[in-house]
């Protein structure tokens, strides 16, 4: 067992109940040291509760929670080597930026001159030089976000927890902060665990993503793994846009679509199990019905609408048993069918994945 690196955070059988409500249901998860990990899920899925348990603001009902190998299940928040960036930043409104950033160090009785230099360093890290004397009411949303980051990072936590850190920012600023956060994480080398309901944010920033729904951890993997091979219908639907075609298992490499057609598709589930074939809009192709290239599977339907996105076009094709979206790059001279025309939507065998229904 030696030589195995100790995970920064290790959850084993973690369950949290509030009365009769199971907020988090038997979660097992390892987050490696230095990793940028995203907990992704819709609101109320238990991701924030999980984060709060790591922070020590909530205690698990069952299970073991280890931070760098030390059991921390019921350790109060002020005794844990982790810090949190709260959703609404929770800056202390009666203190200046500097006092906010210095708070954690002051509470740990760090010597005064060390506090001063570390606070300046942290303020520099988040590029807020010269704003030390401001109060939080005098800062913009993005600046508050940076103060919250500095206030947490100045303590040099072993794990930094971020609860929807970019949720309150507008789109442009959010995109800026995404890359900035990523760069910051690389610079300080601290394990970041962040919670978000925004799949794009998770895909952009995280090294690995854990997808949660209704208190359960459904899938853990790199952004590519989760996007390419979602484990079930929920994950497939939640991460990115997708077309899900009802099907059932015929053999371990063939499924039967709802229209009765058998197509190749790898799947380890028992014969007869209801599954869904996941076809991403950007992987679907579209041709006039008679011109589908050899080697591609296709279904034929009527073009219902075209949505112009500028850089791309999204075609909605209606079959009598399904509705498909096809996304095509906006290239000159491409196939441009009109609404109402018959079109064939096609795909190569590699483009699809079979997921549990």
């Amino acid at each position: 067992m030696s030589g195995e690196p100790i995970p920064a955070v290790k959850l084993t059988g973690i369950t949290k109940r509030f009365g009769d409500v199971v907020a988090v249901d038997d979660i097992g998860l390892e987050i490696a040291d230095g990793e940028f990990f995203a907990l992704l899920g819709p609101s109320g899925c238990g991701k924030t509760t999980t984060l709060r348990m790591i922070a020590g603001l909530e205690f698990p009902t069952e299970g073991s929670l280890k931070i760098f190998g030390n059991e921390a299940g019921t350790l109060p928040a002020n005794k844990r080597p982790v810090n949190t960036v709260f959703q609404d930043y929770a800056l202390f409104p009666h203190m200046t930026v500097e006092a906010n950033v210095a708070f954690g160090l002051k509470m740990q009785r760090v010597p005064k001159n060390e506090i001063a230099s570390r606070v300046q360093e942290a303020i520099g890290l988040v590029r807020l030089e010269g704003m030390g004397q401001r109060r939080s009411q005098q800062l913009s949303g993005g600046q508050r976000q940076r103060v919250a980051l500095a206030r947490a990072l100045v303590n040099r936590p072993k794990v930094l927890l971020l609860d929807e850190p970019l949720g309150a920012l507008d789109l442009k600023l959010r995109q800026e902060m995404q890359s900035e956060l990523k760069a910051l994480q690389r610079e300080v080398g601290i394990t970041f665990v962040f919670v978000t309901h925004d799949q794009e944010e998770a895909l952009t920033m995280a090294d690995r993503i854990g997808v949660m729904n209704q208190g359960e951890l459904l899938q853990v993997g790199s952004p590519a793994e989760i996007y390419e091979h979602p484990v079930n219908r929920f994950v497939a639907n939640f991460i990115g846009q997708t077309n899900l075609l009802d099907a059932s298992v015929v053999s371990n490499d063939k499924v039967c679509l709802a229209n009765g057609e058998h197509i190749p598709g790898h799947c380890d589930l028992p014969v007869g199990t209801r599954v869904a074939v996941c076809l991403r809009p950007e992987r679907a192709e579209m041709y006039p019905p008679a011109k589908v290239p050899d080697g591609q599977r296709s279904v034929t339907g009527r073009l219902e609408s075209v949505t112009y996105l500028g850089n791309a076009l999204v075609y909605t094709v209606v079959l009598d048993w399904a509705r498909l979206e096809v996304r095509r790059e906006n290239q000159p001279g491409g196939y441009r069918p009109h609404v109402g025309e018959e079109v064939a939507v096609s795909w190569t065998d590699k483009a699809i994945s079979v997921v549990r229904a």
Partner: protein
């Protein structure tokens, strides 16, 4: 174009007249009171020329001064104690879940709801029973006086303080306390550095309210005061029964002056604490997020 609609013609005159009437309604009695405190006539309502006799009287009247001192001591003591207890009660109700919380919550409002007279009779009964018990069990002879007045004032002030502080606490996000905890603060330090500074305006308002209520109270005090000590309002009440002289006016003017000073002080306190000054606010608005310190002296706007 101005953003507000300015009244014109008769509307303007009517509105102005209305405001003056309201001011008159508020301040005419006070003016009359002040003017007649300088009247050289034993009858309160008759002008008998200017004199400072009544103020002289006030200075010489030891009974009256005694009452003033009792009032002040009761007010300060009951305010301090009820602010501490009321704030603790507010914290308990707003931040913790415990058995009997709802009952406690409802009971805490009682002194605000029940009539003063009921409260006063309750106090009277309580003190007479309590002092009897003290006497029979411990042989202590305790009379109603300063301490019983103070206790009865604390009894109703706790409710008022806790209501005011709770309102402030309810408006303060619990996340701030979690943030402090997350930043290694103990529960006590969280209170000391985060919760308390946040609820301070509420605590100050509660204290001011308690002070005023204590200084004002007649009914409850009357029932819980003894021969040894009485407060100013109760004493003034007694004066009226014995025949009124402008001494009452003089006393009232002095009380009025004291309360005006108190209010002015509290306003000044609110101005100086909590809110960032106008100057720093203006700086924040004029400096764009990306500009740094050097550019502050730069381009005039």
């Amino acid at each position: 174009m101005s953003s507000t609609v300015q009244p014109r013609g008769t509307t303007k005159i009517a509105l102005a007249a209305h405001s003056w009437l309201v001011y008159l309604f508020f301040f005419a009695p006070i003016l009359v009171l002040i003017v007649f405190s300088f009247s050289d006539d034993n009858n309160v309502g008759r002008w008998g020329g200017f004199t400072l006799e009544w103020y002289q009287d006030f200075v010489e009247n030891t009974q009256l001064q005694n009452a003033v001192w009792v009032s002040i001591r009761v007010a300060v003591l009951s305010t301090v104690i009820s602010v501490v207890l009321g704030t603790l009660a507010a914290l308990a109700l707003e931040r913790f879940k415990f058995r009997g919380r709802k009952v406690f919550d409802a009971l805490l409002y009682l002194p605000i709801i029940i009539p003063d007279v009921t409260m006063a009779v309750m106090m009277l009964l309580f003190f007479s029973e309590f002092f009897d018990l003290l006497e029979t069990w411990f042989g202590l002879d305790w009379q109603k006086g300063l301490s019983s007045i103070t206790i009865s004032h604390i009894a109703f002030n706790i409710s008022f303080v806790s209501v005011v502080v709770r309102a402030r606490l309810a408006g303060m996000s619990e996340v701030l306390e979690e943030a402090a905890l997350d930043l290694y603060a103990s529960r006590w330090k969280t209170f000391r550095y985060v919760t308390f500074p946040q609820i301070l305006p509420g605590v100050a308002a509660g204290a001011l309210l308690a002070l005023t209520l204590s200084l004002d109270d007649v009914v409850i005090t009357q029932f819980s005061s003894g021969p040894g000590a009485t407060t100013l309002p109760v004493f003034v009440f007694g004066l009226i029964r014995r025949g009124v002289t402008p001494l009452i006016n003089a006393t009232s003017v002095l009380m009025l002056a004291a309360s005006v000073i108190l209010v002015a002080l509290s306003l000044a306190f609110q101005q100086f604490s909590g809110r960032p000054s106008l100057r720093t606010a203006r700086q924040a608005i004029s400096a764009k997020p990306t500009t740094n310190t050097q550019s502050k002296e730069g381009i005039p706007q």
